[in-house]
Subunit: 400 residues, 2 copies
């Protein structure tokens, strides 16, 4: 039930005390908090610091109970507002959050297992919202993963191509080689590998909407013979390939499934095979923000590197090269948010204004998370253990 | 007691059966085994396959009981010999070893903890053998870690300089910055950083012999004011620095000490600090070969990446970049073994022929381990979590 916003409805001293405790638990970010009765609580002397406006008592109580979840809910409901730049506000919050929560995950993980039916549901929740929606703010190839900006001023379209080339170069793709892709989104990388590296790609995805788009692209380019899209879970990958690639999917695979993920890589790679995993990660094992987990990415869980190693270490793989592209994801999200805002009116028509606020907060929050180091982007290149046909230096990655 | 080598002393059928079982447990490497009575057991049709000669019954029994330990002992005692190239023989063995032993380590680790007094004993065992000995086969700067060969035909002297530059470039060392080095060997990197990057280096080592050499070099170069060598354990590092670097030491730190190692990094790095860890590693957690552990490196234990993350994940660090230089260590060891063989006569005079055989087997075995993928070489670059003054691409590492 919505509370009245009248200045007459005064904030109690006990409420301010609890709010103070909450701010402490968040590491006392240097923010201003304006309350519905006109009072302000400040953790900074800077008068131009970002200000969060709490419009009613119910919103305050919810925020105090669980700020990581209810900030999002109350922002979407317009019961909390942010004055000033939303990304900067969220970055300030992230930068001050205590680095706790280690070990928490292991307690909850068993209740959050991405079984096959659940994986289908989770994917449909996010990726089957509709191609028309994503087309409004992604690049024309619909690449919904971190781009690569060798030049920081590069256009998003070019940076997505640069990312695909960066991956293909790392993998040293040779004409005629076979590639299996676990989780292919709208198919841009599969298409790119076929068109520019003469690879034969078999790509798996469980999002019907994405595959429809991907198949149409392949037909339009006349590459039907080289690229095969399969509507199925990565766990059902069959066959042996020269290359295993997975971009932006591991973060949707629960850590309790990593051993099986590795087993799929193990049985899918030929001798002399190699692969690349590109995924969102963390500096420490930690739970996903519960609001993002509920509204945006059910079942998502970016791994720390020690967690990620579970896909390699039980099997015959050597990690050759790891690159952290965190700032590239912040830049990518800056582009996406800009495009999203440019189309906010259209999005509101397609869905409703609350949907716009939810997605705005998600895109701004993700940008803030990558900027502040709360999230990382790992690109991990690997090969079969003991294979000596590996490049001795990485110069080759930096030759056009 | 040495057994007779006479052909009359026939090998029993039961002994051959046990030998067969041992070969099975080693993954049936395609080798020939010649026994003291002239009989041969072969696991290959290739008549030019490497052949191991077992000269007496006692040696066979010991080998059967624990091949990973007794091969070394019996080789040193000349009761087992290898016909053909020793490195190739050992590589064949390594390549066929079953990838087992995971988890084993956790059972034994508590009994193998590198407490401070033990760490001192272990270091003196290996590094205080005498500078004159190492001078015979290391480069003139006495760098006793993996070199970096941007050109595979490069001389060892140049490859060691290239390695130091590769590290300094990765770290983006700026003039006047302060560096702390945990485990500095004979001081080459500290000296290099001071001479070529105008850094101020404080370097820790517990090997007295190495430090005497390092201090003399610093005096000779007139760099006393810029480099300080401290005879103490890394756990006693004090102060705050721009850069933390450790090359070839973590493999001597027991995995049960990693949390403390990370704590030292945590308290030693300024805000905006960064660091590099260069160490021998494994694709899976596994125990050190027991013969190497006893005779060459007591207390050594190369970590897998999931184990290594224990020095980063409990603290405020982001892994930015990881490079596997395994083949560079194989190449480095090829140079060392060649130089060692060239000086084998001198070594035998300084010690005895058994010492020569022990070290020959160690250098050949290490080369085989890196060639076969049994061991890895990880170079890990890291920074403070959330620090955005990090390079966006790695091009900068490949500019001379």
């Amino acid at each position: 039930m919505r509370q009245a916003h009248t200045p007459g409805n005064k904030v109690f001293a006990a409420e301010k005390l609890l709010l103070g405790r909450m701010m402490e638990s968040l590491g006392n970010p240097p923010l201003r908090i304006a309350l519905w009765d006109g009072q302000e609580i400040s953790r900074t002397d800077n008068p131009s610091a970002q200000c969060v406006l709490i419009r009613d008592r119910g919103a305050l109580m919810k925020l105090i109970a669980n700020p990581e979840y209810w900030l999002g809910e109350m922002y979407t409901a317009e019961r909390i507002a942010v004055q000033g730049n939303l990304v900067d506000f969220l970055e300030t919050v992230y930068r001050h959050l205590p680095r706790s929560g280690q070990g928490k995950k292991s307690l909850l993980a068993p209740f959050n297992s991405n079984t096959l039916p659940k994986a289908f549901r989770n994917v449909r929740h996010h990726y089957d919202i509709g191609n028309d929606f994503y087309r409004l703010w992604l690049d024309r190839r619909m690449v919904y993963t971190c781009a690569y900006f060798p030049d920081w001023t590069m256009a998003l379209e070019d940076a997505q191509i640069a990312k695909m080339d960066h991956i293909c170069r790392k993998l040293r793709l040779k004409p005629g080689e076979t590639v299996v892709e676990a989780g292919c989104g709208w198919g841009a990388l599969a298409l790119h590998m076929a068109m520019h590296y003469a690879s034969k790609v078999r790509a798996y995805n469980i999002s019907r909407e994405q595959l429809a788009f991907a198949r149409e692209c392949v037909r339009n380019e006349g590459l039907d013979g080289q690229v095969e899209f399969i509507e199925d879970d990565y766990r059902n990958i069959r066959g042996e390939f020269d290359v295993f690639v997975s971009v932006g999917m591991l973060e949707h695979v629960g850590t309790d499934q990593y051993r099986e993920f590795g087993e799929v890589m193990q049985r899918s790679l030929k001798e002399g095979g190699r692969g690349l995993i590109h995924c969102i990660g963390r500096d420490q094992p930690r739970l996903m923000n519960p609001w993002i987990e509920r509204h945006i990415f059910p079942g998502a869980c970016p791994p720390s590197l020690s967690e990620m190693m579970e896909i390699f270490e039980p099997y015959e793989f050597s990690v050759l090269d790891l690159e952290n592209l965190r700032l590239h994801y912040a830049k990518t999200l800056e582009h996406w948010l800009q495009r999203f805002e440019d189309s906010a009116g259209r999005v509101a028509e397609m869905f409703d204004p609350a949907f716009v606020r939810t997605w705005r907060l998600y895109l701004a929050g993700a940008q803030a998370a990558f900027r502040s180091g709360d999230m990382q982007l790992f690109q991990v290149l690997f090969a079969r253990s003991g294979d000596n046909r590996i490049p001795s230096t990485r110069d080759y990655q930096y030759v056009a």
